[in-house]
């Protein structure tokens, strides 16, 4: 019982021994050292990428004679043997799965550091 009282007493004194430390500009100093917000850069990058994708699409449409290549490609795909289509679908799936697994592994490694 005395042992328990002593431990309570010690814990209480330890907690009392560390009073609240006033901020006194500490938070402001930390915030000053933060890197600039990424949001604007990300937004700018997204706008540039979307713009380029849009321009490329318009250009491809005009150059290909009004998008005739799309229907031609589908016709060619439809003419392919079933085995070829299956192999194409399987290899695409494998590439995407490998990329996903690599991204997951690198992300979990980054979170461990």
């Amino acid at each position: 019982m005395k042992q328990v009282n002593q431990e309570d007493w010690l814990d209480q004194k330890l907690r009392e021994a560390t009073p609240y430390i006033d901020d006194e500009g500490f938070t402001a100093r930390v915030l000053q050292q933060l890197p600039p917000p990424q949001r604007r850069h990300d937004l700018l990058r997204a706008v540039i990428l979307l713009g380029m994708a849009f321009l490329a699409s318009v250009l491809a449409y005009v150059v290909s004679g009004g998008g005739r290549f799309v229907s031609v490609t589908f016709e060619r795909l439809a003419a392919l043997p079933a085995l070829w289509v299956f192999a194409l679908a399987l290899s695409s799936g494998l590439v995407i799965a490998a990329a996903g697994a690599t991204a997951a592994v690198s992300r979990s490694r980054a979170s461990l550091t």
């Binding site: 002593q6 938070t27 915030l31």
Partner: protein, 178 residues
Amino acid sequence: MELTDADLVARVLVDDDQHAFGELVRRHQSAVRGLLRQLTRTDVALADDLAQQTFLRAYKNIRSFRGEARFSTWLYRIAYNCFREDARRRKELVGIDEEKLQTQHDPQVTDPGLRHDLMRALSLLPLNERSAVLLCCQNGLSHDEASRVLDIPLGTVKTNVLRGREKLKRMLADWGPN
């Protein structure tokens, strides 16, 4: 209604909201600076430098905070790592031996204040015991949380807390309850 730490972290993650991060710093600065002051044996300037490093590192790695532990526990872990890296650089990772511990205890002569004696007694503990006692007894972390912060087995934390407490009780025997 006051936002929780998890809400503020979400704002930092989604919007890179530095005001939200500032609120997290304001909430936890006292505890982190207090812990580091004790770990650095009350070197206030060094402790505050390390506390700044802690929050900057927390900001850069906030995506790795998954919310499984309390935000404060995660911060303590970063703070302890900052301290350890700095101590390694300074080669100060050495404990104080028992002999020194015995000879330096003279509360009646040097300082009549319990707080001062307590701080000094803490600073005389070896680092592993000091950090375990600080986290568990002073900051209220469970043994399990402390083992995550210190990156040592649970059993070692319990042993270090026990030994640290015993030494503190011995050094503060004159002040203790009868």
